[in-house]
């Protein structure tokens, strides 16, 4: 999430809201957001319902697989990045910039 924070101004300039999601508690997310200086929402999917709905629940870790979805202004999935490509937001930034021009 640190990398998303570093790219936040670029993403905001591309009309993009960043939302982090994990199966951590809100309490954990608050402590972590303060520690690393994240200013965008970190959402608590306690119990994993949303993680499961997106097909990302990994029973081995009882947690989500690392994935970033770009959802366009029509609410449709425009881009999906997994694992290391999801950690580095540069391709997500490009996908969002392309989506800004579409509208």
């Amino acid at each position: 999430m640190q990398a998303f924070q570093q790219n936040l101004s670029k993403l905001e300039a591309a009309d993009t809201q960043v939302l982090g999601v994990s199966m951590d508690s809100s309490f954990s997310n608050k402590a972590w957001a303060e520690k690393i200086g994240v200013t965008f929402p970190l959402l608590s999917d306690w119990g994993g319902d949303v993680t499961k709905e997106y097909g990302l629940y990994n029973p081995k870790y009882k947690a989500a697989r690392r994935a970033t979805f770009v959802i366009d202004k029509d609410g449709k999935v425009a881009d999906i990045k997994l694992d290391s490509e999801a950690i580095d937001p540069s391709k997500t930034v490009e996908a969002c910039q392309a989506r800004k021009l579409n509208r």
Binding site: M1, F4, E53, K76
Partner: protein, 73 residues
Amino acid sequence: MKQAFLVALLAANLMPGLHAADQPAPPQPSVKVGDVAPDFTLTDQNNNKVSLHEFKGKKNVALAFYVFAFTGG
């Protein structure tokens, strides 16, 4: 020809099995490019409710699933 087909079938059946014995396959996203993203309402770190539909028609959303708080990435 039939034999080759059977061998291929056998190999296709065995490979995921061998793989599974080693490491379970990671989960595959059930939401695909072009799908309507499933809506949700979740609570953020400041106890505010955030719903995906709030951004429809206004902003793109970069929805970043992470494994655990207090880890890298």
